[in-house]
Point group: C2
Chain length 284, copies 2
């Protein structure tokens, strides 16, 4: 049975009780809802590995910039609930904004050094919003393991750093990006795309694959690789590059040459829709 919990105090009491009465491990999948196959893969893994599974659905206002899409972010709780039921999730935690950010809320959790680059550059404050809400959710749910998708690679690096630095006892697992048949990374924001844009959106995946082939052929100069990626993306009518970066997997610092492994991460505006994607590559 899937129970829907709205109150954070109640959710915390339930999870404390699970802890104290040795009812087993808690797996946690934090989401902003409008669930897709990417979320479902996290939920299935959590279900498979834990006695109890909590999925949170909360469109967190503090991780959106003032000009971003908080208000129009897609929401469909009825559908999300059905999907959670189908995946045999124990608890859907869907708190109200005024429960999570009570009057006079004034505490933030922030990670320096990993949050200024990549998405942090064009979304200042975004990761502070993310780490603050994740810290709060971890304290409410006290999960043994929390599951995140690789599509938000920078987010996973930032959260791992926060977990280590603040001594959370939660283990972080990162699962592969789930893609549409043609390769487009699953994202709730894909629902914004008009039909022409949907075609152009494939350029993110295609560009990553193209770079992967170049690297396999021995091209490791990142300036060159970024240049051809940029050209490839901007050949699409509706596409505008926010960033293309080739960075170290651990510290997210730009690499001049790909020596061993690297992350290729990009953000592209397709019309008014900002999409991200990434792959991990290895020099041969």
């Amino acid at each position: 049975m899937t129970r829907v919990i709205i109150s954070s105090a109640k959710m915390q009491a339930i999870c404390n009780d699970i802890r104290r009465s040795r009812k087993g491990t808690i797996g946690f999948v934090p989401t902003m809802g409008f669930l897709h196959e990417g979320h479902l893969s996290l939920m299935r893994k959590a279900r498979n590995e834990n006695d109890k599974v909590v999925v949170s659905i909360f469109v967190n206002p503090t991780q959106f910039g003032p000009k971003e899409d908080f208000k129009k972010y897609p929401r469909n709780f009825a559908r999300d609930k059905q999907l959670c039921k189908k995946e045999n999730i124990d608890f859907i935690f869907c708190p109200k904004e005024e429960d999570i950010y009570q009057r006079h809320h004034s505490t933030t959790v922030s990670v320096d050094g990993l949050t200024e680059c990549l998405c942090g550059k064009s979304r200042p404050g975004h990761f502070c919003g993310v780490t603050t809400i994740v810290a709060k959710l971890f304290n409410i749910v006290s999960p043994d393991t929390a599951y995140f998708g690789q599509k938000d690679f920078q987010q996973t690096v930032v959260i791992k750093q926060m977990v280590k630095d603040l001594n959370f006892s939660t283990k972080i697992k990162v699962l592969p990006t789930i893609r549409e048949k043609d390769g487009l990374a699953m994202s709730s924001r894909n629902s914004y795309l008009l039909s022409e844009e949907r075609k152009d959106a494939l350029v993110l995946y295609e560009t990553l694959q193209m770079l992967k082939r170049k690297i396999k052929k021995g091209i490791t100069n990142t300036k060159f690789l970024k240049k051809i990626a940029y050209k490839n993306i901007e050949s699409k009518k509706t596409a505008k590059v926010d960033y293309i970066e080739i960075v170290d997997l651990c510290n997210l610092k730009s690499l001049k040459k790909i020596a061993t492994k690297a992350l290729i991460a990009l953000a592209v505006k397709i019309g008014r829709v900002r999409l991200i994607d990434n792959i991990i590559v290895s020099a041969r």
Copy 2:
């Protein structure tokens, strides 16, 4: 038996085990060591109210400013250990700095609005250091209740706000300031005072008592009260006022008039030693 735990991983494992095996509640007294009767009163309360008691001893570098007394802060672990044994404390947690702040540590917890006034004004960054270490310690120890002294009133307000905002399930208890026979608030920093300074240091308590009497007599204009307090303190040769403030108990904002309850808080340099004290007063 009092066990000394140095590793944060081990401390966390022990506390998780206490949680999971229903060995009862955990009381927690975070300290910077050099224990005095103020700490002991917290330890006794914790001992009285909990099945297990953890006392942490960690001189936290990040809450000291670059020109402050981190290096010379008084330390005496052997004596602290004896005192903990005598109070029947279960665990002394005394981690090394390199365990708590590992390489690349880059996460901070900060509370806005309550941390810029009073001690925050002359100690920028201090409360960010405090909230970050307390968040870490809470995640390591996962206490049911944590005990703090009223002497650090602003610290208790800031920590309560953090606990509420980040959904920690720890309850915060604040116990009265413990004083020397003559009224000087107990502090590890009192050990710095030379004999002449020790006499002058009494002016903090005396001034607070003097203000209390004035308020009892119906004087509620804080500008006037602060003026006479200032004059009283600076009449001592070695004393220099850092601040005298009369503020709201909840939001720490300055009051023009004392309507009901208020906090009188002050910080005074006695020679090179910065001391703080406070009392809660009520208009008649």
